[in-house]
Symmetry: C2
Subunit: 295 residues, 2 copies
């Protein structure tokens, strides 16, 4: 069987590897990858999952004995008109108009639209590949990277210069860096499907940026999809969260500016209300908050 969504993904990969995240071609390929994923998923079965997470229900796509990752029922809204509008805006508008458009939507709605696009490709991949974590993760990076690039009107880089007294041209591989130029913020944007026990890496990279370039120069704003875990035999969804460790990281390693989630865990959201707070939010709020980061 021909897997169109995978062909579209390969086209997307080619453009993103060239670095041109904000190009119209790239947004077009993102849209095509999403549509093809949806066309594939529409023919698959669905199965409701058990959820141990208060207030959230999940289902999965199913093909023979393969189960996709869990999908948050409330967040998943594959009606194509709103998503189509969103892609139209991303393709045709200036960065200012892109932000204005998103500002006409509710943050909850934006989060849902982005979640739906991101997870559709991941689920389609789950059903055709065995244990492939890398492809969904890379797609999610491309997608979030493109939104940032379009909105900030700058393509990201993946390396930063490190001042070295003894050697020229020492660089460090990083997650996305969006450098808005002189007297403007530089964004450090790790994009992860989930962090689990690896979340400490995000703070450690921020620490290096602070150490090398000075605290406050790079604003760390990771974008994470979810912290769900599916037990395949029990068909049960849990969330893996370590809030007290996050507090220790934020106090003792480095300070992140915001942590954005598509499927936000309640225990992390609650970190906003303790002292010292950690600013965790739904990704939809990014479009409303981004201007305030510059001050």
């Amino acid at each position: 069987m021909k897997l169109n969504f995978f062909d579209s993904y390969k086209g997307l990969q080619k453009v993103c590897r060239s670095g041109d995240y904000k190009s119209i071609t790239n947004i077009h390929l993102l849209e095509k990858t999403f549509k093809d994923s949806l066309d594939y998923l529409i023919n698959q079965n669905k199965e409701n999952l058990l959820s141990t997470i208060t207030g959230k229900t999940y289902f999965a796509f199913k093909k023979k004995n393969k189960l996709s990752r869990p999908i948050n029922t409330r967040l998943y809204i594959p009606e194509t008109q709103e998503i189509k509008n969103m892609f139209e805006v991303l393709k045709s508008s200036t960065p200012k108009n892109v932000k204005d458009y998103f500002n006409t939507l509710e943050p909850d709605k934006i989060t849902s639209l982005v979640y739906t696009i991101a997870i559709s490709f991941c689920c389609a991949t789950d059903l055709v590949k065995d244990g492939d974590q890398k492809t969904p993760g890379t797609f999610f990076e491309y997608f979030i990277g493109s939104i940032f690039a379009k909105l900030l009107n700058i393509n990201p880089s993946h390396r930063i210069k490190v001042l070295s007294l003894d050697e020229d041209d020492v660089t460090l591989p990083t997650d996305f860096i969006f450098d808005l130029g002189k007297n403007k913020p530089k964004y450090h944007v790790p994009v992860k499907i989930s962090t689990r026990e690896r979340s400490i890496q995000v703070w450690a990279h921020q620490r290096i940026l602070n150490g090398v370039h000075g605290t406050g120069r790079f604003l760390g704003i990771p974008v994470i999809m979810t912290e769900t875990k599916l037990s395949k035999d029990k068909k049960e969804v849990t969330e893996i969260c370590t809030p007290s460790q996050w507090q220790i990281y934020q106090m003792h390693i480095a300070q992140l500016k915001r942590i954005y989630y598509l499927d936000i865990p309640e225990v992390y959201n609650n970190l906003n209300t303790v002292f010292p707070p950690i600013p965790v939010n739904q990704f939809g709020y990014f479009f409303f908050e981004v201007d305030s980061f510059e001050n």
Copy 2:
């Protein structure tokens, strides 16, 4: 087929989970797990691998179309008498006698003995399990943890207290902590089969220990087996090393006291000779250096 080495491992796991790493029972089970692994491997085929690493050759055990991880030909010395002596000493001697015994051996020889024991179980597991990385990693932790526990005469813990102004009893899960008590060092010992791109975690955890308890209170000495990677289709062994990143971590995140390897990569060994140096050494030297850490 009955897999004795796996039954022995399960016994070992039971004792280590109880926390009694330095018990005679534990050392006995380590020895049995090693012997049973060797008995299993002796009936398997061997295949020489291509090596891109200067000065090192590798082979793998083979069973039907399954290949074990690569084994450093020079380091692998399964003649059992020397290893038998080593286990006898670990079982029967006081910590001081254990150190005296190791000090009669060459550091190279100690490294080889420890490497042989560690990798035999890993290879046996590779041939019977599919993609199981966890079991070999846990075995390696148990083994290195037991050597430290025996030599330092103290069992490790896996959590440390974190001072919190608002809450009692906040603890942080850690790698091995060996607390020698008042006016003595506390060792922070991450044990890893390999670090690859995850090495930053070791420095980040050290950073937290420094932040919470003060710099110099915990001496970070990770013990790592190897950085080899086997390309299964080309049957070729490479080493994945990031020395310039290590220098950045050591300068900007935290300072590790020693980094010990069983199969030491030359590029990391060379970090001793640049400034600022990073102290990387063969594990065999630990038994000669440990006393100097207390000063």
